[in-house]
Symmetry: C2
Subunit: 451 residues, 2 copies
């Protein structure tokens, strides 16, 4: 039976299985989901076992467990390490979901659920692709290892140590990851770059109590004013980050890179339309793909302070808060960037207000040369299934562990994504287009066979 | 029996009664407290009835009811209209209260509860003062009317119409209000000015969905950035409101006024210390009492958008919100000020973002000449009880209805307050110093007898 027929016959069964996976609310960021994290890990292990993998084990860590499995019966052939994550992002604002995030629903050929595309749907493809080859051919054309973690959405705090402690178990000739997107529907892409990340939480505090805006308004510092003035100082009016030293280590975009970006032929008008925006926004002098692929950014992810209830409350709040993340490129050092941000905040805080900072995650950017043979074979596989050769892109997101894989295992990393850019990952109504579910299975089989 | 002895003998009974009043969570701003509002109104009516007042009635309005009562048996003598409010502010942040807001508790001679000083404690003084005179002397030296509303904390939307519809019922020679503060412990003050108020809610909206800061960060507008930049444009770096036309109608402080402010001899060092502030803040060139008494202000009371949960969420929020109130002085017209703010917001919003505005409350500032005979008699009454003559001050707060009383009834308004500036009104741990509970009763009796 050819693979197309094989996957068609099992399609409903596969979708039902994936839906079950998607009902588990494995939100790694929220400590009250510990049980769900374990359930999701056990689910992955059971499916790997069923697929025919060996040495399947749920490895505990100081955080959420890591699932490992292998099938090493192709001597002389390359070893592929397949990486993915079973954890998902938080779901709020919940009221904006059309169907509940953990009640998977298919509408218009799209599977809606938190984790549908990021990354449960995509790791499921690899399990089923390997299972298919073993079912059909009773052997794999290459050696395969799986390493599926549960802390990707919180920057993989425990995987690097696990990797270093299990270097020989994880050793591979290529790392294969599906946690990125096609360029657009029908246009496959292989990411050869990921931005790095650093995060921090900022609290501004003023008086020792909330104050009445009548008796005190105009005469005392207001924590919200102080925070807002501080946050507004982080960018200039050209959309550039205004922090001294922030751009240290950011490479200028070379003519070659610019040409590669141009090839993506990104339709900014269409993007604006799909997002309901009158205008895009960002650093002057760069296109959207350059801004998100090759330029760093500092984003406010959350700001809050004072009264949020119904109506009016004439209060001067004593404290206000902001959550900030930066995406980094090139040689930007996340610790150095955090130092620079902290120095900026501390030197720009208004008289009468205090700033308290909690540093968060840190990850370096990652880059690969598109001429690498593994990347070219991945492009071949896409071409066979999608009928069009994959473009080599730079992805704006961060998968902090990619840089670590590349460094610790010394292997090229193939980011073979099957999502779409508008699938609302990290937002309400996340979904996975089932066209790429079908084609993804075939592309992975093709890649493993071509290696 | 002299009044001091009278009130001492009944002190525990009075405090118990007031505590019961304070257990009713009559928060006018929250629609789910409708029942509590009615209960508080009925409570006031019952106590007025018991005190010997006549024509006691709970008048329904389109919002919360107004309690009216009268005692008009002093022909040829002046008529005093006593105004107050039985509604209170919301209580959040609840976790900062040392004891629950609606479980009144006495600690260190202070009665802690929401509404203790603003304004349940203070209206209770008037009821008991009138009751005392009737008990002791079987007659009142003046004609007395009570008008106690339940919407002061939401800007009295229904009282003006009630006042106009019942002009003859409410007609008076002087309006007496206790909803302000002494200057400090032992230093009585009579407010001869109140700031006006206007409020609005601002929403900034960008894309039609929250976006992933990896895929989109740096390339699309972020609603939080747009809001923060907009809010930061509302002030210049000298603490002045930077909205064109905002200061129209604001009188310069005259040398006389400046001298009156200097008399208050406000200790800014002590204020900083009590608030835990390293520095005060405000418009350059003015003292604290001038800033809060004679200058307008624009305050952010609440700002929120994006992720507020535990940890990090790499989201670019699609919308962000702010709640703003202004305190107005002199001839500032609240509608005109709102127009100017809206024009500023609409012209300063960043490309790619939309601003939506909901206009709220409006009230003009109020001013009285300290040489008015009624104000001088009030100062006499304070002097008799406190042993020191009241200063004539300008209060930073707003009691929107005061300007309406003065205009509709054409009567002077005596603001004879018994609170203290640090009693946390509108904030957690609101309280009322019982020294002023005792002296307040005597001062009101004295004032009514001297009229």
């Amino acid at each position: 039976m050819n693979y197309t027929t094989y996957f068609q016959e099992l399609r409903e069964q596969h979708l039902d299985e994936l839906k079950h996976f998607l009902t588990i609310p494995s939100i790694s960021a929220l400590s009250n989901h510990k049980k769900d994290m374990n359930e999701a890990a056990e689910w992955v292990a059971a499916k790997l076992e069923k697929a025919g993998l060996e040495q399947v084990k749920v490895h505990p860590t100081d955080g959420h467990p890591i699932v490992y499995a292998e099938h090493l019966h192709a001597p002389g052939k390359p070893t592929v390490l397949i990486y993915g994550h079973y954890d998902v992002q938080p779901v709020d604002p919940l009221h904006l979901w059309e169907t509940p995030p953990f009640e998977p629903t298919v509408r218009d050929g799209k599977l809606y659920a938190r984790g549908a595309t990021d990354d449960k749907g995509q790791i499921y493809l690899h399990i089923k692709a390997v299972e298919a080859i073993l079912n059909q051919e009773k052997a794999l054309p290459v050696n395969v290892k799986f390493c599926i973690e549960g802390e990707e959405e919180i920057s993989s705090p425990n995987l690097p140590a696990f990797m270093e402690a299990n270097e020989s178990m994880l050793a591979a000739d290529v790392v294969l990851i599906s946690d990125t997107s096609l360029l657009e529907k029908g246009k496959p892409a292989i990411s050869t770059g990921l931005r790095g990340l650093c995060s921090l939480e900022v609290t501004v505090a003023t008086a020792n109590t909330d104050l009445h805006s009548g008796s005190f308004g105009g005469g005392v510092p207001n924590a919200l004013h102080a925070l807002i003035s501080l946050l507004d100082s982080l960018h200039d009016d050209k959309g550039r980050v205004a922090i001294d030293g922030f751009y240290d280590g950011v490479p200028e975009i070379s003519p070659d890179m610019r040409e590669e970006f141009l090839k993506q032929n990104h339709n900014e008008e269409e993007l604006k339309k799909s997002l309901g925006l009158e205008a895009l926004y960002g650093e002057e002098g760069y296109s959207f793909v350059e801004r998100t692929g090759a330029r760093p950014t500092l984003e406010l992810n959350g700001v809050y302070g004072g009264f949020q209830g119904e109506g009016t409350k004439t209060v001067i709040p004593k404290e206000a808060h902001a959550k900030i993340t930066c995406r980094l490129v090139g040689d930007q050092d996340p610790s150095y960037v955090l130092d620079k941000i902290v120095a900026h905040l501390e030197s720009h805080i208004q008289l009468g207000a205090k700033v308290l900072i909690k540093r968060g995650e840190k990850a370096r950017a990652f880059n690969m040369d598109p001429s690498n043979a593994m990347l070219q074979k991945a492009a071949d596989a896409y071409e066979t299934v999608y009928g069009t050769r994959a473009l080599f892109t730079k992805d704006g997101g961060s998968i902090p562990i990619v840089e670590t894989f590349s460094r610790v295992l010394g292997a090229p990393v193939v980011m073979m994504g099957f999502g779409l850019p508008d699938e609302n990952l990290h937002a309400p109504n996340e979904h996975f287009n089932l066209e790429n579910f079908d084609k993804g299975l075939l592309t992975i089989v093709e890649f493993l066979k071509q290696l």
